[in-house]
């Protein structure tokens, strides 16, 4: 008899404060491997804080968080390198070119440089790989950021509004890397429920840091989602 698979995420009353303010309070959920969690909520709801805690960049202040079978923050070292984070900031150096940035991250992750060339092609910026990042548009920079996030084939993708600044063609181009076809476990913060709920297995609604909704998308009414933003 085989043991049950470890969930990708198992959160119990996960809490994080910024000073006196509770940025994230009592979030509890379980997400199986390969599934997609869509996180909805208005600005300041705690979505980005949740992603940063899961990415091991912020410590939880209460509750527990198991990511890929490892408890945070004690076993954070075992999770780093298995997570791809695409946040509001591209985490790239403006003075370096796309290729130089990706090669730097490839060296940190022990990834072969052929993967860099493969991704530069895949995100459609192969013609502008020598230009400093500061000369690229936000959309182009977002494409490079996506390449950085998936460079090391992470098991868990943490995506904070991944289509921000992308035109429809760009969004379609990146879909195999970060969309449902990528077959990775995904946590996707979104302001576009209509587009993102289709690929979701579980929906988490946050408001003022509190968990106000947790259900599969099929069990949610439009009014419940709309109420999150009122």
């Amino acid at each position: 008899m085989s043991a049950a698979p470890t969930p990708a995420l198992q959160l119990e009353d996960l809490t994080r404060h910024y000073g006196e303010r509770t940025a994230l309070g009592d979030v509890s959920l379980t997400l199986a491997r390969g599934q997609t969690l869509v996180v909805l909520g208005p600005n300041g709801a705690g979505k980005t804080t949740l992603l940063r805690v899961l990415a091991t960049l912020l410590r939880p202040h209460a509750g527990s968080a198991q990511v890929l079978g490892n408890s945070l923050p004690d076993a954070a070292w075992a999770v780093r390198g298995r997570i791809g984070l695409l946040g509001h900031e591209p985490l790239l150096y403006r003075e370096l070119s796309a290729r130089e940035n990706l090669r730097y991250h490839a060296r940190l992750h022990g990834v072969a440089e052929e993967r860099v060339e493969e991704l530069l092609d895949a995100v459609g910026i192969a013609g502008r790989t020598r230009e400093p990042l500061r000369t690229l548009s936000r959309g182009m920079t977002q494409r490079v950021a996506v390449a950085r996030a998936v460079l090391h084939d992470p098991e868990l993708l943490l995506l904070d509004e991944p289509r921000a600044n992308l035109d429809p063609a760009g969004a379609a181009l990146l879909e195999p890397l970060i969309g449902a076809p990528c077959a990775r476990t995904r946590v996707l913060c979104s302001h576009d429920p209509a587009a993102d709920l289709a690929g979701a297995d579980l929906v988490l609604g946050l408001r003022a840091g509190r968990q106000v909704l947790l259900a599969p998308p099929s069990a949610l009414a439009d009014s419940e989602i709309g109420a999150l933003y009122r």
Binding site: S2, A3, L58, G69, P73, L96, L108, G110, D153
Partner: protein, 276 residues
């Protein structure tokens, strides 16, 4: 380096080399035995090598020097500042030539203040452009960032001195610089090692605060005073007209011990500075 124990109280992180053998280690996924928990593997399971400490240091240094070459934000500013201060001293002292303690004091105070400019810029790109987060997400020994940044700062200081010391010899120094040269580079290097260790530690601490431009120098200067004292005392005989003595061993030893102590302190606490 990767086998060094983490500092007391730090989150227990096995060394990188050891992680590849742990059940959940991600470093060589293609080699990992299939387990039920691997039922949803990534689409392309690529072999990834565990990244060694010095390879990480090399990667960061390469990036660091590339950014400096592109922006020219640190070294040219430090060098220009030092030369300008020598010109100011030249006119303010109303002297064409200084020697001995006076020369050593002017040289080291100027180098120290120029170094502070570089220290203040050391982590700015990382803080402003997300480089810290990018680094923290990588499965590497975090102390590699300290070593790489300290080595980068050491290179900046050496380049600064290649410009500033000849300018000092030309504008202010009474004895010929040639007479000091056999021993002076060694004293400069000992001073630079301490400045690099303390500067990197202070820069990492200050860069995450809102008042980093103020806090950096306020923290660095008191800690750097012993280096100025030791280096100036060690340099003074070399900058004296008709000198016959080498640098006093007592002051060289003081500098070396101070460098070692702060190198170890930086190594022990750096991980905590990066933590949330």
């Amino acid at each position: 380096m990767s086998t060094v124990e983490p500092p007391a109280g730090a989150t227990t992180e096995p060394p990188i080399a050891a992680r590849a053998t742990l059940p959940d280690a991600p470093l060589t996924p293609s080699d990992a035995p299939a387990t039920p928990s691997d039922t949803a593997p990534p689409p392309r399971a690529r072999a990834r090598a565990a990244v060694g400490f010095w390879r990480t240091v090399a990667a960061i240094m390469r990036k660091e020097l590339l950014v400096e070459l592109r922006t020219l934000e640190s070294v040219p500013g430090m060098s220009l500042f030092a030369v300008t201060v020598f010109v100011v001293f030249h006119f303010a002292l109303n002297k064409n030539a200084v020697s001995g303690d006076e020369a050593a004091g002017i040289l080291w105070v100027t180098l120290l203040l120029a170094a502070v400019l570089g220290i203040n810029r050391l982590f700015v790109a990382d803080a402003e452009e997300g480089g810290f987060d990018g680094f923290l997400l990588a499965p590497v020994d975090r102390t590699a960032l300290l070593v790489a940044k300290a080595l980068a700062l050491l290179i900046y200081l050496i380049v600064l001195e290649l410009v500033a010391v000849p300018a000092f010899g030309l504008l202010l120094l009474e004895p010929s610089l040639g007479h000091a040269l056999p021993d002076l580079p060694g004293v400069l290097l000992l001073g630079d090692l301490g400045v690099a260790a303390i500067g990197t530690l202070v820069a990492a601490l200050a860069v995450r605060t809102r008042a980093r431009d103020l806090l950096g120098p306020l923290l660095a200067l008191p800690l750097l005073v012993p280096i100025v004292i030791g280096a100036a005392r060690a340099s003074a005989p070399l900058l004296t007209l008709g000198h016959t003595q080498g640098p006093p061993l007592r002051w060289l030893a003081t500098l070396a011990v101070y460098d070692l102590i702060f190198g170890l302190i930086a190594y022990a606490v750096f991980d905590f500075l990066l933590d949330d």
